[in-house]
């Protein structure tokens, strides 16, 4: 059982079953680690910014660095108006994904971002925000997103269909990228880590050879820390790019 690489993705209820009508809201290990991710992100920002010193301490430098990192990213991708409207949303998404990914790096911990239902929920949140804000702000001009300028009429209908498919493929690729990266990373990690006890149990010369998958596991762990940050960053960056379309729908 412990050698099963899929075992780490099992969702187990940890409370009594809770039902709201047809909705199953039982508190599971996934819920627990999502709450922990929110708590870690919010708690760290609160604790780090508590002194609010002009000359920041170490924790405050980290908190302010994260803030200005995302701030300049939103500004580059969506302009000043994007910062005004969407910065809290993007910063929250980034911190939550980053905290959830980092918590998942602990052995025996559950990684919420390895469940596609969670990444898809966040991607659909961005998708519907784009539609709602785009229509509220631009009205029918939002449909210009699907009609590129300077295209002759006889292929325009074809281009419009392709643009619509391209638009609806966004939440899918947005969700799948984060999910697949985290899932694949944790699977590979578990498989290589599983080789160590298998080889050690085989005895003889294999006991010495088990050092090889062990080294690989350590190296992959370092890579996974990079992926944990990079995927949170990429998710936030793509969110900015998509939200920019809501503000400026013309190509």
């Amino acid at each position: 059982m412990s050698n099963d690489p899929i075992h780490q993705f099992h969702i187990n209820p940890i409370s009594e079953p809770i039902h709201f009508g047809a909705l199953d809201a039982t508190f599971t290990n996934a819920s627990l680690f999502m709450v922990a991710g929110v708590g870690l992100a919010a708690g760290f920002m609160w604790w780090a910014m508590k002194p609010a010193a002009v000359v920041p301490g170490r924790a405050q430098v980290v908190a302010e660095g994260a803030y200005s990192f995302i701030h300049s990213m939103v500004k580059d991708a969506a302009g000043e108006e994007g910062v005004k409207r969407f910065f809290p949303f993007v910063f929250t998404l980034f911190l939550f994904i980053f905290a959830a990914n980092m918590l998942g790096m602990f052995p025996y911990f559950f990684t919420p971002t390895s469940q596609i239902v969670i990444t898809a929920t966040m991607a659909l949140m961005v998708f519907f925000t784009v539609i709602v804000v785009g229509v509220a702000k631009n009205g029918f001009k939002f449909l210009k997103l699907f009609v590129p300028s300077g295209v002759p009429w006889y292929i325009l209908w074809f281009v419009v269909i392709i643009e619509i498919i391209s638009f609806f493929s966004r939440p899918l690729s947005h969700a799948v990228r984060l999910w697949a990266n985290v899932l694949a990373g944790h699977l590979v990690l578990k498989v290589f880590a599983g080789f160590v006890p298998m080889m050690a149990a085989a005895g003889g010369v294999f006991v010495l050879g088990s050092i090889l998958p062990l080294g690989m596991t350590v190296a992959l762990y370092a890579l996974e820390f990079l992926v944990a940050f990079l995927q949170a960053y990429v998710f936030a960056l793509l969110t900015c790019i998509y939200l920019n379309d809501a503000l400026h729908p013309g190509h």
Binding site: I162, F168, L172, S173, V234
Partner: protein
Amino acid sequence: MSRPLGRVDRSMADKKPPEDALSDLRRRVDAARGDGASRNALAQSPASLAFRFGGEFGAAIIVGALLGYGADYFLHSSPWGLVIGFGLGFAAGIVNVVRVAQSFNNANPPNPNAPSIPDDDD
């Protein structure tokens, strides 16, 4: 501990009000950093870029095929909706990949001083 700090503060306050000193410092820090923009162009690994290409391509095909399948379901035109949707999804996937490549090229402009590589036509 507090005395030397206080002395520094006073000597700074003698020259100009603290707000000016702060905005002056902000200006110098921004200048030293080269002011944002390029600082944020985080180098992505080739593998993650390749994964992005594949994801954009595949997602468009899946969505196109699903839309075609949905059209089949309501219009009872199976299998033509699926076939056409699949093809349109393929085209949309190419559009997605070209867009990603364009944005990548805009973010990482090629070195204009790089030596040109002769191709077969030359």
